[in-house]
């Protein structure tokens, strides 16, 4: 019975994703409601935290397509995140005078960031892969710089506040102090992104990406237009960041350039490397774990060691980026596949059972 169910889910991966996420959506709030977790922070705090972590999960899944599937190193992923958020700010805020609904801004944000991805990828993707890394690194630095300096349009370092929030018929406008709608919305978005990423990965397109990652020259000699497919990966990854950006902007109701610094790009990359490059769920779990190390564990260590000699004087929050850097290096040296490596050999195909 268990085996047959497992086999069924292997052939219906979208359903598998929906079931797993439903389970997560039920289990996480239950866990947060237990007294142990309540000791750290109140239930609503946990739920808000989950929704914030979800933003990083989305980013990690998007970056996984670019880095994990197509093997292109994007070091400026935060730039696309920023573009998504600012697109939202221009499309749906009192400041801009436009009030496009959130639900429409999601696809708009995705398309705008995808096109930025193409614009930045097109000149460089024809060249060697490492040039892409440096150009994206520069792009990640320049976009916040441009946002900061175009203060006429972006209000510079002050940022744009008062962005519109999502609205649904029965629930009404989402409120910042009511975490439930945000939590559910986050899970739904992750589900959609995961299903999309999974379906593309297990198609002709995903195979083309993997072929390019394994051996670009052989991929071209097997009929794959490597430039087009690399651009496609880049654009799809960017659009995921665009969706995450729109979600963040509407959730905080505020955007400013320093939300999208280089450290965000490195954080997402660390999440991916920790979770397992190429593995959808690995990326998601890596993002979730690191987010909680970052926003809960280190904070708790600070609280916990208050007054303790030596340890109490360390600001653990300050250590976080050092830890991420170390995580990148150590994982690459010791466990390049991540904590949850892509399981390749055991991978089943839809038609296998037909024979």
């Amino acid at each position: 019975m268990m085996n047959r169910m497992r086999e069924y889910l292997l052939r219906h991966r979208s359903l598998d994703i929906v079931l797993r996420l439903t389970a997560i959506a039920i289990v996480l709030p239950l866990v947060a409601a237990t007294p142990i977790f309540g000791a750290f922070q109140p239930f609503n705090g946990w739920l808000t935290g989950f929704a914030n972590a979800a933003i990083f999960v989305m980013l990690a899944i998007g970056l996984n397509i670019v880095v994990g599937k197509a093997g292109l190193l994007d070091l400026g992923f935060a730039a696309f995140f920023a573009i998504g958020a600012y697109t939202y700010a221009f499309g749906a805020s009192a400041y801009s005078g436009n009030d496009i609904p959130f639900w429409l801004m999601l696809p708009i944000g995705a398309v705008v960031t995808a096109i930025f991805g193409v614009a930045i990828g097109a000149p460089t993707l024809r060249l060697r892969g490492d040039y892409l890394a440096i150009v994206t690194l520069g792009f990640g630095e320049i976009i916040p710089n441009v946002l900061l300096n175009s203060d006429k349009y972006t209000l510079g370092t002050n940022g744009i506040s008062g962005l519109d929030r999502p609205e649904l018929p029965i629930i009404g406008v989402f409120k910042s102090n009511e975490p439930w709608p945000w939590f559910i919305l986050a899970i739904v978005l992750i589900g959609l992104i995961m299903i999309a990423a999974d379906r593309i990965s297990f198609s002709r397109i995903g195979r083309a990406w993997e072929a390019i990652r394994e051996d670009e020259l052989a991929a071209a000699s097997n009929g794959i237009n490597t430039v087009t497919f690399k651009l496609l990966a880049f654009a799809i990854g960017a659009s995921t960041a665009g969706i995450a950006g729109a979600f963040l902007a509407s959730k905080l109701s505020f955007v400013s350039p320093d939300q999208f610094k280089f450290s965000v790009s490195v954080t997402v990359l660390s999440m991916l490397v920790l979770g397992g490059i190429g593995n959808l769920w690995g990326a998601a779990i890596g993002a979730f774990l690191l987010y909680f190390v970052q926003s809960i564990l280190l904070k708790q260590l600070n609280e916990g060691f208050k007054g303790v000699p030596v340890l109490g004087e360390i600001d653990f929050l300050q250590l976080q980026y050092l830890l991420f850097g170390l995580a990148l290096v150590i994982m690459m040296l010791r466990r390049p596949g991540g904590l949850f490596p892509e399981r390749r050999a055991a991978r089943h195909r839809a038609g296998e059972s037909k024979q």
């Binding site: 880095v67 093997g71 190193l73 070091l75 930045i120 000149p123 460089t124 060249l127 060697r128 892969g129 490492d130 040039y131 890394a133 440096i134 150009v135 690194l137 520069g138 792009f139 630095e141 320049i142 710089n145 441009v146 300096n149 670009e216 020259l217 280089f262 450290s263 490195v266 990359l269 490397v273 490059i277 300050q318 250590l319 980026y321 050092l322 991420f324 850097g325 170390l326 995580a327 990148l328 290096v329 690459m332 040296l333 390049p336």
Partner: protein, 331 residues
């Protein structure tokens, strides 16, 4: 004998750069011209390390800019905490001794840092998939930034101004700061020394051979590991000299300068033709002129973005740089 026209055609970009430099010289005040050269000299010192390492192992060493940044802090700490230098030194002999000492020590220490980074982070990954060393490099860069941030705090720190900043040479009515002369001279001396080292010494020959074909070089008895290690050491040491010059010239530093400085130096390496040490110098001066030009034209806020556009433009239209040949690899 090559006809002048054919020569001009082959070196059109080089001529173009020369023309731009001359136009720049005529358009801006001489002081700005010297500032551009000085800035270019500092970028050149960083760019050399990028281009050498890329030439030999085809790795963009993202940590290089942060080695430079670390160099500024190491040298200022030695100056203040060890040597007790905080203010200007007027005695020329004493000044020369302090200068040479701090240059030598910083170069040595940064060389050691370069050695350690290569040995611990890059060497184990030499045969790993291409992505692995790049990710490690960005990790090392991040580690260095955060170590310095923990050590010195996230604030701007003053560099001891022991060099007389108001001393100047007069050429008629044109006044050129002695500091500018110093930075340019140090950069030129190191560049010439490096060029001689690469072309004349045994290690230099081994480096060139390894860059061309590591397997063949190994078969001819070149110790690949040692050669690569030395390349990192030399590149980092020259960046260390750049740190001291940067500190003296701008008088201030913070933990995040390595990022942009590295990006610009890498742009310089690409503009000049990556893997080419002469090209790196040429590219660095191009960046210096671009930045100062942008500032003079009133776009100082946009100078970083302009340099980035320059990088993308070169990668699009002339990926092999000013001095590179025009054959882009399609494979």
């Amino acid at each position: 004998m090559v006809s002048p026209l054919a020569w001009a055609k082959r070196n059109s970009v080089l001529l173009w750069v020369a023309a731009v430099a001359i136009a720049f010289f005529l358009a801006v005040p001489p002081v700005q011209f010297v500032n551009a050269l000085t800035l270019g000299a500092i970028y050149a010192l960083i760019a050399l390390g990028y281009t050498m390492v890329y030439g030999i192992v085809e790795l963009i060493n993202f940590a290089h800019g942060d080695v430079f940044m670390l160099g500024t802090f190491v040298s200022l700490s030695i100056l203040i905490d060890v040597m007790g230098v905080t203010g200007p030194i007027t005695n020329p002999l004493q000044l020369a001794v302090v200068l040479i000492f701090i240059l030598a020590v910083t170069m040595g220490l940064m060389g050691a840092v370069g050695f350690l980074i290569e040995k611990l982070a890059y060497r184990p990954l030499r045969n790993a998939p291409k992505l692995a060393p790049l990710i490690t490099a960005i990790g090392v860069s991040f580690i260095l930034q955060n170590i310095v941030q923990l050590w010195k705090g996230p604030y701007k720190t003053n560099f001891p101004q022991f060099f007389p900043m108001d001393a100047a040479l007069m050429f008629g009515s044109v006044r050129i700061g002695l500091i500018n002369v110093l930075v340019i001279a140090v950069a030129l001396i190191l560049m010439i020394a490096l060029q001689l080292f690469i072309t004349r010494s045994k290690t230099g020959r081994a480096m060139r051979a390894t860059a061309l074909d590591p397997t063949a070089a190994a078969l001819m008895g070149v110790n690949i590991d040692a050669t690569i290690s030395r390349t990192f050491v030399i590149g980092a040491a020259i960046a260390g000299a750049g740190s001291v010059m940067f500190g003296l010239y701008l008088g201030i530093t913070d933990f995040s300068i390595g990022f942009l400085a590295g990006l610009k130096a890498f742009t310089a390496a690409v503009v000049g033709g990556i893997g080419n040490t002469l090209g790196a110098a040429l590219g660095a001066f191009t960046i210096g002129f671009t930045e100062v030009g942008a500032t003079v034209a009133g776009f100082s806020r946009w100078k970083d973005a302009i340099v980035f556009i320059l990088l993308v433009a070169f990668l699009t239209f002339r990926p092999n740089g000013i001095l590179g040949s025009d054959s882009s690899d399609r494979a």
